[in-house]
Amino acid sequence: MWKWILMAIPLIVAALELIHGMLGRGHSFVIFLSGLGLVGCGLGFSYEKDWRELITAAVLGCVGSVIVYALSSVSNLGPTVASGVVGLLASKFLKNRYSLIVYTGAFVGMSSPEVLPTIWTAGLAGLFAGLLYEVMEGVWEGIGGRLGTMAATAVIVTILLGVGGR
Protein backbone atom coordinates (compact mmCIF):
# COMPACT_ATOMS: atom_id res chain seq x y z
CA MET A 1 0.00 0.00 0.00
CA TRP A 2 2.70 2.52 1.01
CA LYS A 3 4.55 1.85 -2.25
CA TRP A 4 1.44 2.75 -4.24
CA ILE A 5 1.06 5.99 -2.25
CA LEU A 6 4.69 6.86 -2.98
CA MET A 7 4.28 6.16 -6.70
CA ALA A 8 1.12 8.27 -6.82
CA ILE A 9 2.85 11.43 -5.50
CA PRO A 10 3.71 12.89 -8.96
CA LEU A 11 0.21 12.18 -10.21
CA ILE A 12 -1.33 13.89 -7.16
CA VAL A 13 0.96 16.90 -7.54
CA ALA A 14 0.19 17.12 -11.28
CA ALA A 15 -3.55 16.91 -10.58
CA LEU A 16 -3.29 19.67 -7.99
CA GLU A 17 -1.32 21.87 -10.39
CA LEU A 18 -3.99 21.27 -13.01
CA ILE A 19 -6.89 22.07 -10.69
CA HIS A 20 -5.54 24.69 -8.33
CA GLY A 21 -2.37 25.91 -10.02
CA MET A 22 -0.37 25.20 -6.89
CA LEU A 23 3.32 25.87 -7.24
CA GLY A 24 6.56 24.72 -5.66
CA ARG A 25 6.58 24.45 -1.93
CA GLY A 26 2.79 24.52 -1.89
CA HIS A 27 3.10 20.85 -2.76
CA SER A 28 4.58 20.25 0.64
CA PHE A 29 1.14 19.93 2.15
CA VAL A 30 0.20 17.14 -0.25
CA ILE A 31 3.47 15.38 0.29
CA PHE A 32 3.13 15.78 4.04
CA LEU A 33 -0.24 14.03 3.85
CA SER A 34 1.27 11.33 1.65
CA GLY A 35 4.10 11.03 4.17
CA LEU A 36 1.58 10.47 6.94
CA GLY A 37 0.08 7.70 4.83
CA LEU A 38 3.53 6.26 4.29
CA VAL A 39 4.29 6.24 7.99
CA GLY A 40 0.94 4.66 8.69
CA CYS A 41 1.24 1.99 6.05
CA GLY A 42 4.97 1.46 6.01
CA LEU A 43 5.61 0.71 9.65
CA GLY A 44 6.11 -2.89 8.69
CA PHE A 45 8.72 -2.00 6.04
CA SER A 46 11.71 -4.27 5.91
CA TYR A 47 14.24 -4.61 3.10
CA GLU A 48 14.93 -8.28 2.62
CA LYS A 49 17.33 -8.26 -0.32
CA ASP A 50 21.07 -7.67 -0.39
CA TRP A 51 21.97 -4.17 0.86
CA ARG A 52 24.81 -4.04 -1.65
CA GLU A 53 22.20 -4.13 -4.43
CA LEU A 54 20.50 -1.13 -2.82
CA ILE A 55 23.76 0.81 -2.70
CA THR A 56 24.61 -0.16 -6.29
CA ALA A 57 21.19 1.04 -7.42
CA ALA A 58 21.64 4.35 -5.59
CA VAL A 59 25.08 4.90 -7.15
CA LEU A 60 23.88 4.00 -10.66
CA GLY A 61 20.87 6.30 -10.32
CA CYS A 62 23.17 9.10 -9.18
CA VAL A 63 25.58 8.51 -12.09
CA GLY A 64 22.77 8.51 -14.69
CA SER A 65 21.32 11.70 -13.28
CA VAL A 66 24.62 13.58 -13.07
CA ILE A 67 25.69 12.64 -16.61
CA VAL A 68 22.38 13.70 -18.18
CA TYR A 69 22.24 16.90 -16.13
CA ALA A 70 25.79 17.77 -17.18
CA LEU A 71 25.20 16.87 -20.82
CA SER A 72 21.97 18.84 -21.07
CA SER A 73 23.18 21.94 -19.25
CA VAL A 74 26.83 22.15 -20.28
CA SER A 75 26.82 20.81 -23.83
CA ASN A 76 23.41 22.27 -24.82
CA LEU A 77 22.31 18.89 -26.14
CA GLY A 78 18.95 19.27 -24.44
CA PRO A 79 17.51 16.87 -21.87
CA THR A 80 15.70 14.59 -24.34
CA VAL A 81 18.76 13.93 -26.47
CA ALA A 82 21.02 13.65 -23.43
CA SER A 83 18.79 11.01 -21.81
CA GLY A 84 18.61 9.14 -25.12
CA VAL A 85 22.40 9.06 -25.41
CA VAL A 86 22.82 7.86 -21.82
CA GLY A 87 20.06 5.26 -22.26
CA LEU A 88 21.72 3.86 -25.38
CA LEU A 89 25.15 3.72 -23.75
CA ALA A 90 23.73 2.09 -20.63
CA SER A 91 21.87 -0.56 -22.62
CA LYS A 92 25.03 -1.23 -24.64
CA PHE A 93 27.47 -1.63 -21.76
CA LEU A 94 25.40 -2.67 -18.72
CA LYS A 95 23.16 -5.58 -17.79
CA ASN A 96 19.46 -4.94 -18.48
CA ARG A 97 18.64 -4.40 -14.81
CA TYR A 98 21.44 -1.89 -14.30
CA SER A 99 20.64 -0.08 -17.54
CA LEU A 100 17.09 0.41 -16.26
CA ILE A 101 18.44 1.99 -13.06
CA VAL A 102 20.77 4.32 -14.99
CA TYR A 103 17.84 5.26 -17.24
CA THR A 104 15.74 6.09 -14.15
CA GLY A 105 18.55 8.35 -13.00
CA ALA A 106 18.69 9.86 -16.49
CA PHE A 107 15.06 10.97 -16.13
CA VAL A 108 15.99 12.80 -12.94
CA GLY A 109 18.82 14.53 -14.80
CA MET A 110 16.26 15.90 -17.28
CA SER A 111 15.08 18.33 -14.58
CA SER A 112 15.51 22.02 -15.34
CA PRO A 113 18.05 24.12 -13.40
CA GLU A 114 15.10 26.00 -11.83
CA VAL A 115 14.03 22.76 -10.13
CA LEU A 116 17.42 21.22 -9.41
CA PRO A 117 19.83 24.21 -9.37
CA THR A 118 23.13 22.37 -9.07
CA ILE A 119 24.66 19.13 -10.25
CA TRP A 120 24.87 18.02 -6.60
CA THR A 121 21.12 18.30 -6.14
CA ALA A 122 20.65 16.37 -9.37
CA GLY A 123 22.97 13.70 -8.00
CA LEU A 124 21.04 13.55 -4.72
CA ALA A 125 17.72 13.19 -6.56
CA GLY A 126 19.29 10.50 -8.76
CA LEU A 127 20.40 8.69 -5.63
CA PHE A 128 16.82 8.75 -4.32
CA ALA A 129 15.60 7.48 -7.70
CA GLY A 130 18.02 4.54 -7.56
CA LEU A 131 16.84 3.68 -4.06
CA LEU A 132 13.22 3.93 -5.16
CA TYR A 133 13.87 1.63 -8.12
CA GLU A 134 15.23 -1.02 -5.79
CA VAL A 135 12.56 -0.64 -3.11
CA MET A 136 9.60 -0.38 -5.50
CA GLU A 137 10.05 -3.77 -7.09
CA GLY A 138 6.71 -5.21 -8.15
CA VAL A 139 4.82 -1.91 -8.17
CA TRP A 140 3.30 -0.99 -11.56
CA GLU A 141 5.21 -3.90 -13.11
CA GLY A 142 5.07 -3.76 -16.89
CA ILE A 143 3.63 -0.23 -17.00
CA GLY A 144 5.61 2.03 -19.35
CA GLY A 145 6.50 5.27 -17.59
CA ARG A 146 7.03 3.54 -14.26
CA LEU A 147 10.67 4.63 -14.17
CA GLY A 148 9.74 8.21 -15.00
CA THR A 149 7.20 8.24 -12.19
CA MET A 150 9.87 7.06 -9.77
CA ALA A 151 12.18 9.79 -11.06
CA ALA A 152 9.48 12.44 -10.60
CA THR A 153 8.85 11.17 -7.06
CA ALA A 154 12.57 11.43 -6.31
CA VAL A 155 12.74 14.99 -7.67
CA ILE A 156 9.65 16.07 -5.71
CA VAL A 157 11.09 14.56 -2.52
CA THR A 158 14.35 16.48 -3.17
CA ILE A 159 12.38 19.72 -3.61
CA LEU A 160 10.52 18.96 -0.39
CA LEU A 161 13.80 18.50 1.46
CA GLY A 162 14.55 22.11 0.59
CA VAL A 163 17.52 21.20 -1.57
CA GLY A 164 15.80 21.84 -4.89
CA GLY A 165 14.53 25.09 -6.32
CA ARG A 166 11.00 26.49 -6.99
Binding site: N96, G142, G144, R146
Partner: protein, 136 residues
Protein backbone atom coordinates in the same frame (compact mmCIF):
# COMPACT_ATOMS: atom_id res chain seq x y z
CA UNK B 1 -0.94 21.44 -32.26
CA UNK B 2 -2.78 18.54 -30.63
CA UNK B 3 -3.81 17.12 -34.00
CA UNK B 4 -0.28 17.40 -35.34
CA UNK B 5 0.99 15.57 -32.28
CA UNK B 6 -1.21 12.57 -33.17
CA UNK B 7 0.64 12.33 -36.49
CA UNK B 8 3.95 11.86 -34.69
CA UNK B 9 2.81 9.99 -31.58
CA UNK B 10 1.03 7.13 -33.36
CA UNK B 11 3.95 6.29 -35.71
CA UNK B 12 6.39 6.64 -32.80
CA UNK B 13 4.33 4.18 -30.74
CA UNK B 14 3.98 1.75 -33.64
CA UNK B 15 7.71 1.94 -34.37
CA UNK B 16 8.59 1.37 -30.71
CA UNK B 17 6.16 -1.53 -30.38
CA UNK B 18 7.61 -3.12 -33.53
CA UNK B 19 11.19 -2.67 -32.35
CA UNK B 20 10.37 -4.12 -28.95
CA UNK B 21 8.33 -7.11 -30.04
CA UNK B 22 9.74 -8.00 -33.45
CA UNK B 23 13.35 -6.83 -33.38
CA UNK B 24 14.11 -7.97 -29.84
CA UNK B 25 15.51 -4.66 -28.59
CA UNK B 26 15.43 -4.05 -24.85
CA UNK B 27 12.95 -1.54 -23.43
CA UNK B 28 15.73 0.95 -22.65
CA UNK B 29 17.17 0.71 -26.18
CA UNK B 30 13.79 1.25 -27.83
CA UNK B 31 12.92 4.22 -25.64
CA UNK B 32 16.38 5.77 -25.97
CA UNK B 33 16.39 5.47 -29.78
CA UNK B 34 12.97 7.11 -30.12
CA UNK B 35 13.86 9.86 -27.64
CA UNK B 36 17.18 10.50 -29.37
CA UNK B 37 15.76 10.60 -32.90
CA UNK B 38 12.76 12.73 -31.99
CA UNK B 39 14.90 15.11 -29.93
CA UNK B 40 17.33 15.58 -32.81
CA UNK B 41 14.94 15.69 -35.77
CA UNK B 42 11.60 17.19 -34.77
CA UNK B 43 12.83 20.59 -33.49
CA UNK B 44 14.48 21.08 -36.90
CA UNK B 45 11.47 19.95 -38.91
CA UNK B 46 8.55 21.79 -37.30
CA UNK B 47 8.01 25.07 -35.50
CA UNK B 48 6.40 23.18 -32.58
CA UNK B 49 9.14 20.58 -32.79
CA UNK B 50 10.15 20.80 -29.13
CA UNK B 51 6.60 20.02 -28.02
CA UNK B 52 6.32 17.21 -30.59
CA UNK B 53 9.65 15.77 -29.44
CA UNK B 54 8.25 15.78 -25.89
CA UNK B 55 5.17 13.89 -27.09
CA UNK B 56 7.34 11.33 -28.91
CA UNK B 57 9.57 10.94 -25.86
CA UNK B 58 6.49 10.37 -23.70
CA UNK B 59 5.28 7.72 -26.17
CA UNK B 60 8.75 6.15 -26.12
CA UNK B 61 8.38 5.63 -22.35
CA UNK B 62 4.96 4.06 -22.91
CA UNK B 63 6.53 1.61 -25.38
CA UNK B 64 8.52 0.24 -22.45
CA UNK B 65 5.29 -1.46 -21.30
CA UNK B 66 5.32 -5.23 -21.20
CA UNK B 67 3.41 -7.22 -23.81
CA UNK B 68 0.97 -8.26 -21.07
CA UNK B 69 -0.10 -4.64 -20.52
CA UNK B 70 -0.05 -3.44 -24.13
CA UNK B 71 -0.75 -6.47 -26.26
CA UNK B 72 -1.07 -5.19 -29.84
CA UNK B 73 -0.55 -2.26 -32.19
CA UNK B 74 -4.13 -1.01 -31.74
CA UNK B 75 -3.68 -0.72 -27.97
CA UNK B 76 -0.33 0.97 -28.58
CA UNK B 77 -2.05 3.47 -30.87
CA UNK B 78 -4.63 4.21 -28.15
CA UNK B 79 -1.81 4.70 -25.61
CA UNK B 80 0.02 6.99 -28.07
CA UNK B 81 -3.07 9.17 -28.57
CA UNK B 82 -3.63 9.28 -24.80
CA UNK B 83 0.01 10.31 -24.31
CA UNK B 84 -0.41 13.17 -26.80
CA UNK B 85 -3.65 14.33 -25.13
CA UNK B 86 -2.15 14.17 -21.63
CA UNK B 87 1.08 15.95 -22.60
CA UNK B 88 -0.97 18.66 -24.32
CA UNK B 89 -3.50 18.99 -21.49
CA UNK B 90 -0.90 18.92 -18.72
CA UNK B 91 1.73 21.15 -20.34
CA UNK B 92 1.59 23.44 -17.29
CA UNK B 93 2.00 20.56 -14.82
CA UNK B 94 5.26 19.42 -13.21
CA UNK B 95 7.20 21.85 -15.42
CA UNK B 96 10.93 21.24 -15.15
CA UNK B 97 10.52 18.15 -13.00
CA UNK B 98 12.49 15.20 -14.35
CA UNK B 99 10.29 12.17 -14.94
CA UNK B 100 7.35 14.37 -15.91
CA UNK B 101 6.89 12.72 -19.33
CA UNK B 102 7.30 9.27 -17.79
CA UNK B 103 4.54 10.07 -15.30
CA UNK B 104 2.26 11.09 -18.17
CA UNK B 105 3.18 7.90 -20.04
CA UNK B 106 2.34 5.80 -16.99
CA UNK B 107 -0.98 7.60 -16.68
CA UNK B 108 -1.75 6.90 -20.35
CA UNK B 109 -0.91 3.20 -20.00
CA UNK B 110 -2.95 2.90 -16.79
CA UNK B 111 -5.95 4.61 -18.45
CA UNK B 112 -5.63 2.33 -21.48
CA UNK B 113 -5.43 -0.78 -19.28
CA UNK B 114 -8.49 0.47 -17.39
CA UNK B 115 -10.43 1.03 -20.63
CA UNK B 116 -9.51 -2.45 -21.88
CA UNK B 117 -10.61 -3.94 -18.58
CA UNK B 118 -13.94 -2.10 -18.71
CA UNK B 119 -14.48 -3.16 -22.33
CA UNK B 120 -13.81 -6.78 -21.49
CA UNK B 121 -16.12 -6.67 -18.50
CA UNK B 122 -18.92 -5.16 -20.59
CA UNK B 123 -18.58 -7.21 -23.77
CA UNK B 124 -17.10 -10.47 -22.53
CA UNK B 125 -18.11 -10.53 -18.88
CA UNK B 126 -14.64 -11.17 -17.48
CA UNK B 127 -11.79 -9.11 -16.11
CA UNK B 128 -8.37 -8.13 -17.43
CA UNK B 129 -6.57 -10.32 -14.92
CA UNK B 130 -8.58 -13.36 -16.02
CA UNK B 131 -7.78 -12.77 -19.68
CA UNK B 132 -4.06 -12.41 -18.99
CA UNK B 133 -3.93 -15.75 -17.27
CA UNK B 134 -3.55 -14.51 -13.71
CA UNK B 135 -6.91 -15.75 -12.50
CA UNK B 136 -6.90 -18.27 -9.66
Amino acid sequence: MLWVSFFVSIPAGAFGFWLRNHRGLSSVEVSAWIALLSGLLLPRLHESGIFLAGVCTCVSYATMSSCVRVTNQLEMAVVSVLCAVIVYGCRACLVGVGGRLGTFAALAVLVCCGLINVKRRIFHGHSYSQSSGNAP
